[in-house]
């Protein structure tokens, strides 16, 4: 037996019943697409198409179309890659790490966050593939037999670790997401009144009927996948940071990179989840499931990770000074005051100063402020990667080869292409898949609804499972 905390807010408000939960979420899938959805979808298709024209032109003519030069040989491509991978960290973190910590508030947001993860990783994967210049040789980083060349791939290279890390992360996240979708597909199948709905959602649900035996296995699959995904999500951005940290470029060659990149990834991922969820919540009227409590908790994670990122920036400067290495010191002073000072200060303002506003309760419970700050954080995180990559390269060891990077239209439009891809996928998801995990929200319903909390009722819990 256990008395429910009187401090916490209920996770499901508005006196929703179990059937209301099914209705509120499933009918979004069942109803005809609204005009707003069609408009938004066409807009993202337009971005995809416009970006695609430039991308196609660049594939035909080569990556000389980008603004890269022989000093700055990595710029927007790898910046965008790291930015998208970083965004792709929140979903698995929410569903895996918060599942292990038994945080019930994850149930309302994990579905959309995981979808966002998968789409962001797809957008990230675009970059290394097109940066190869000859994307039809994309299988070359795979450990294939000698007949393809005379050598095996180099397992000492962090770039190869990245191939394994990103592809494992993508496929395991996809499976985790799909396993979560199965019971909800079954719900939509059972509600279907049309033969196509019955057939398609029936096939997607894999014949799920919710027997207690299956649930026992299902729960242990979810738990073990969470246990596997937790180190996986931490390993992915660690390995991405190794791309830089194992090199000998001043400004990259630092041991702080793995934890600092992981914190930054969670920071930007939660910001993107908030941006998307606030829109979805508004359009689909999900305020009973994604309550202010949910938004406040996500904002608290943003303060924590944003502060870790801020401390990491300062630590880097301290270490550059303390190491006594003049190249390192130059790299950092150049970051702050050199040609790219504006990018550095944009990063510091967006990432270090702006999330601190969430210490004020009024701001972290305000939808408008949260929405604006979530976008600012993602702008800041893009600048962080840009600053790390470009400022460390543009003034290298030989002053005669110092250069400045300016993006071309191809840089910009390839970035737009990934936005088009991301939003196209997200809008398709929001229309045809249940955006909230109905089965999991229902598990939280009995002991986290308005009635229980408002009356401080005692809940029977003989097996001590709450």
């Amino acid at each position: 037996m256990q008395i429910v905390s009187q401090v916490r807010e209920p996770l499901i408000t508005g006196k929703r019943t179990l059937h209301d939960i099914t209705d509120d979420i499933s009918s979004r899938v069942e109803e005809k697409p609204s005009k707003a959805w069609i408009l938004a979808f066409l807009l993202s298709l337009a971005l995809l198409g416009a970006g695609g024209v430039f991308l196609g032109d660049m594939l035909w003519n080569g990556i000389g179309r980008w603004g890269l030069n022989r000093t700055v040989q990595w710029a927007w491509d790898i910046t965008n890659f790291v930015w998208w991978v970083g965004i792709g960290h929140a979903g698995t973190l929410i569903s895996a790490v918060l599942l292990l910590f038994r945080q019930k508030w994850r149930t309302a947001i994990n579905r959309a966050a995981e979808a966002m993860t998968i789409f962001a990783v797809i957008c990230a994967a675009v970059w290394p593939v097109i940066h190869m210049g000859r994307p039809w040789l994309v299988y070359w980083p795979l450990p294939l037999p000698n007949t393809f060349g005379s050598l095996w791939v180099n397992f000492n290279s962090p770039l190869l670790w990245d191939v394994f890390a990103i592809s494992t992360y993508f496929s395991v996240s996809l499976v985790f997401w799909y396993i979560g979708l199965i019971p909800d597909f079954a719900t939509i199948r059972d509600r279907a009144v049309g033969k196509w709905g019955r057939l398609i959602y029936g096939a997607l649900s894999f014949g799920w009927i919710g027997g207690a035996r299956s649930w026992v296995h299902y729960e242990s699959v979810a738990l073990i996948l969470a246990g596997l995904s937790t180190p996986l999500v931490l390993s992915v951005h660690t390995i991405v940071s190794f791309d830089f940290a194992t090199s000998v470029i001043p400004g990259w060659h630092t041991t702080i990179f793995p934890p600092y990149f992981v914190a930054g990834a969670i920071f930007s991922g939660f910001a993107m989840v908030l941006t998307l969820m606030l829109i979805t919540r508004k359009v689909y009227r999900l305020q009973h499931y994604i309550t202010l409590e949910h938004i406040e908790l996500m904002n608290i994670i943003i303060i924590v990770t944003g502060s870790i990122v801020g401390i990491a920036y300062i630590t880097e400067f301290f270490m550059a000074w303390y190491s006594g290495v003049e190249y390192e010191q130059f790299a950092f002073v150049n970051r702050m005051t050199g040609d790219y000072w504006w990018a550095y200060w944009a990063m510091m303002t967006c990432n270090v100063i702006s999330p601190q506003l969430f210490w004020i309760k009024k701001i972290r419970t305000s939808l408008v402020a949260t929405f604006v700050l979530s976008i600012i954080v993602n702008i800041g995180m893009w600048f962080e990667r840009f600053v790390i990559i470009v400022t460390s390269l543009h003034h290298d060891y030989l002053p005669s080869s110092w250069a400045y990077f300016t993006p071309t239209w191809w840089d910009i439009m390839c970035y737009v292409f990934t936005f088009g891809l991301f939003f196209t996928l997200f809008f398709l998801f929001a229309k045809f898949f249940p955006v909230i995990n109905m089965a999991e929200v229902k598990t939280a319903w009995k002991n986290s609804n308005q009635d229980v909390y408002k009356h401080n009722k005692t809940i029977e819990d003989p097996n001590n499972v709450i």
Binding site: P143, T187, D190, R198, A212, H217, Y218, S220, A439
Partner: protein
């Protein structure tokens, strides 16, 4: 009591089904029904209910063990692959490191461990639960994926008759029920429904459409 041949033939065909509207009522009902010496075929719930498996006497899932074995296979394969390629088949000096640079092999080894563990476990789950896109599920009540908790009792597994079982279920606390959706009802499956063919299911679906009494969506008033 040993089941006769005739009884075995009737297994899995005739059921008495009770509909509950609360997870705790269902949990108590399971204890109540089992105390009467009745064998429960299965319960169907819209979401996982912890503690139910103890009441029903189900064992822990063996899938974590499968995940461990698949993961260990992944670790082994990854190490064999990397040591075999860079250490044995074509040794090369890279950055002055030894041919078999174990610390450098850890990231790929870790990723392959996770990959094989996850896919192996999920694959075992799908195969063992007979889950596949072309599965035609045998459904007692479609509301089991919405807001109802369904208990199915196989008549051939129990000595009590249909009416007595219905009586017990009523005592166990089934919901009120309506004319259209009774709280306790008998459900019979034919041999064909127990071993359905996917082609036949699709053909029937497209000739008849979805029947009005075969969906959990409430009829619009």
């Amino acid at each position: 009591m040993a089941a006769t041949e005739a009884q075995k033939m009737e297994l899995n065909k005739h059921f008495v089904v009770g509909v509950f509207d609360d997870e705790d009522t269902l949990a108590d009902a399971i204890t109540f029904v089992k105390e009467k010496g009745i064998k429960i075929h299965e319960v169907f719930t819209p979401y996982p209910i912890h503690g139910l498996e103890h009441k029903l006497g189900y064992k822990h899932s063996w899938l974590p063990t499968a995940a461990f074995l698949f993961g260990a296979t992944g670790t082994t394969l990854a190490l064999i692959m990397q040591i075999g390629m860079l250490g044995v088949d074509w040794p090369m000096i890279i950055g002055g490191k030894p041919f078999i640079a174990v610390p450098d092999f850890i990231p790929v080894t870790f990723e392959m461990t996770v990959l094989l563990a996850a896919f192996g476990m999920v694959g075992s789950f799908l195969v063992s639960q007979d889950m596949k896109p072309h599965k035609v599920p045998r459904i007692f009540d479609r509301r089991a994926t919405d807001d109802k908790f369904i208990m199915a009792i196989d008549l051939a597994e129990n000595t009590l008759g249909e009416e007595q079982l219905k009586e017990v279920l009523k005592e166990a606390g089934t919901e009120e029920g309506t004319e259209e959706h009774p709280a306790i009802f008998r459900k019979d499956f034919t041999d064909e429904e127990n071993n359905p063919s996917f082609i036949g299911y699709v053909r029937k679906l497209f000739s008849e459409g979805v029947l009005a009494n075969d969906t959990s969506r409430p009829v619009k008033s």
